[in-house]
Symmetry: C2
């Protein structure tokens, strides 16, 4: 999606546009059409352009056929392509048919790209010049182009085969004496992105270079379109939302929380929840394996939730940190050894802190209530030592899982907090009961 021209901003002030939006969210789909028709046409345009792609598509479907054409044609080609992509497959051909010929061609070309590739985000319309033009000719030529363009931050200089030769900004062009040529003013070292570049990598390219637009090229440096900074804000938000939802232990919803259908949401959450549940069943198996020990020393069972949750929490911290650092490009696969070293130190320190608190808690409670039997010192030692081991293990497992997933070609964000917690729960039980059998053998066990 792209930025509307200055002329299409809201007529009212901020608040009223927000209010309009708020009302919108609360309306049933059939009432939205009525509300939309109540708004004066000018404000309607602003409102329509500010809607999300999914909402634009939903509204277009409910509009009478003759209105649909006018509203769809209001959108620049990249936004039109997004809307058509968001519509039900059955409606796509019909939508395409509503466009004028040249836009339909542009939109069809855009639809061929995956949504999360540079090509899927680009606008095929941009300001262009030939290198041999004089600055005067160039400005006259640009004045004609500029009205049809959505954005014109940079002007691209192309050869006869549409290969990108250079770039120049309006600001640079205007003060130049009129008889100089474009190729004397232009920059030849242009930062470009390949049409199939993943949108997350494209976002990092924008973050590094801070350009308002980056041209998208094919293998032979033919320019296919431009991606502008405002599209990237959406990408960044979208990728962050996906990662956050995955870290929360579910599939990315791909739709706003209040709008997604209950069936779809339950499927996206239920799948992972069931998978985690199946994994977590191993804890019942592990506990069953130590059933005799528990029967002999019930006191051991009391600390099971405390021990395994500490492993889960420390693992959740570590995996979250590493996933985010990977998404930002701060940590690369080859940094795994540095991460292990850091997490060893962090895990041992954090484990020692929790172990100390745990031991203190048991000694204090025993002193006050005498609840942990004659071997309370050994029990405290078992819990303390297990905490160090479990926290260290949780930290290491949590930090390494994103590396393993990425190495195997999966999204590292799937190493969700609940996933790591489940992994660590089972091994935490093994650590705890093994430590217990070593320390308590001959006394309680």
């Amino acid at each position: 999606m792209s930025q509307p021209a200055l002329g299409s901003r809201a007529q009212g002030e901020d608040l009223s546009l927000d209010e309009l939006h708020d009302v919108w969210r609360l309306l049933a789909p059939e009432d939205r059409l009525a509300a939309f028709h109540l708004v004066p046409h000018d404000s309607g345009e602003d409102f329509f352009l500010a809607l999300s792609t999914a909402e634009q598509a939903a509204l277009l479907v409910t509009l009478p056929a003759k209105e649909r054409r006018a509203w769809l044609r209001l959108l620049p080609p990249d936004d039109a392509a997004d809307v058509i992509q968001a519509a039900l497959p059955a409606a796509r051909q019909e939508f395409l048919a509503l466009l004028d010929d040249s836009t339909r061609k542009e939109v069809s070309a855009l639809l061929a790209y995956a949504e999360d590739q540079a090509g899927g985000l680009m606008n095929p319309r941009f300001a262009r010049l030939r290198p041999e033009m004089s600055v005067d000719e160039a400005i006259a030529y640009l004045r004609r182009q500029v009205r049809e363009l959505e954005t014109a931050h940079y002007i691209y200089v192309l050869d006869a085969e549409q290969r990108l030769l250079g770039v120049v900004s309006f600001r640079e062009l205007f003060p130049v004496p009129p008889e100089r040529t474009v190729q004397e003013v232009m920059h030849r070292d242009v930062v470009t992105a390949h049409e199939h570049l993943d949108q997350e990598a494209l976002g990092r390219l924008f973050a590094t270079h801070r350009f308002l637009a980056i041209p998208i090229v094919d293998d032979e440096q033919h320019i296919k379109g431009i991606v502008t900074m405002d599209d990237i804000v959406d990408v960044v938000q979208e990728e962050a939302t996906e990662d956050i939802q995955k870290i929360g232990g579910m599939e990315a919803l791909d739709a706003p929380y209040l709008q997604i259908g209950m069936g779809r949401m339950v499927r996206k959450r239920g799948g992972w929840l069931s998978a985690l549940f199946l994994g977590e069943m191993l804890t019942a198996t592990a506990m069953g394996y130590f059933e005799a020990e528990i029967a002999r020393a019930v006191v051991l069972a009391l600390f099971v939730p405390l021990i395994i949750s500490s492993g889960g929490n420390s693992g959740s911290q570590a995996t979250t940190l590493v996933i985010r650092a990977m998404a930002l490009g701060e940590v690369k696969i080859r940094d795994w050894w540095r991460v292990i070293r850091r997490e060893c130190v962090a895990g041992l320190t954090l484990g020692s802190i929790l172990g100390t608190i745990g031991v203190a808690r048991i000694l204090l409670w025993h002193g006050a209530f005498g609840v942990y039997g004659e071997h309370y010192l050994l029990v405290a030692l078992t819990v303390g030592a297990s905490l160090v081991g479990v926290v260290l293990w949780g930290t290491l497992a949590g930090s390494m899982l994103p590396f393993v997933l990425r190495r195997l070609g999966f999204d590292p964000a799937s190493a969700s907090a609940p996933f790591v917690a489940t992994l660590v729960d089972v091994s935490g039980l093994l650590i705890y009961f093994t430590t217990a059998s070593v320390i308590l053998s001959g006394t309680l066990l």
Copy 2:
């Protein structure tokens, strides 16, 4: 931070800039200075401008005093202010003294704003016109301004007191007949942001309106500067990183993972981990309360980790969804009742799914290994019913906690997955053992 002029892009191609960056990350601070001096001055400029604020500050400190001035003056005022903010307090006055008088004034004004307010992000330099100028005068006047500006997407029309009257874009101004005046062409309905607006809200304003820049005003509509879209990309990334780290159960690090000092990182993680640990200790208390039941029916202990982790996982999903939807503005405080209704349905459905799997697991295992004693049917019923209750409770608690936190004035993202899991662990034990005592009373208990 802002976008460098086109002229200051990397001399080499993409890859080599990336490589330079990569080497940089691996160098010790003292070696960075040497490496920096090896680079030709032109590339050095690009490289310096592309560094993060923290890295720019760190590099400036190591530079010889006479070089420091030249590099600091390379930065536009908003970036200079960020660098000075990032420097150690002791170095700030010294840095300020290196700037020329007019920039120092601008930078000092910027330093008065909190970093996460609109005022802290803005650039005090922007293109400006008077309303009564003719288009011809305006273009001539702009040509002089434009060289000193970092960005000039929109031109702001101000009265003699610097109050914002309107806005016009280059593209709109150029095709207009030269004798018309600026006020005839300008738009009067300008979207503005208040200087103390929080940066997250400012990000949403950009997302709604899709402008390249938004002017920042004080209470009397005096323009103080502009915030551009490229600053917002940083804000969006930064806010997402903070939320993700909080959801992972720790304080936001505020620094890249591989660069933050170990002591600081352990403090940021250890604080929450210890707090969660103290909360989780209640599980030991709860388990102690049911010690007699466990001693009588050890089989109950086997399913403790399974039950409580299911509550934690479903709570983690719900809280993550709601936190993100709140950050994106999709869910507001007044939506709490809609969320409860949705989560009741989702929780019951998900709980029934897990309950069914749980019952099936117990019946299958008992059929195969005969491990769960004569009352295995009742045990299965206990586990199944508890799972429905625990998952429903986890879902509701997880979805409501962000509302409670926001209502109390805290960041909803603090309702981290581990926080919710801890909350749900204790109550999950109560649900489980209460269910058990109802169903198993007279048989196992």
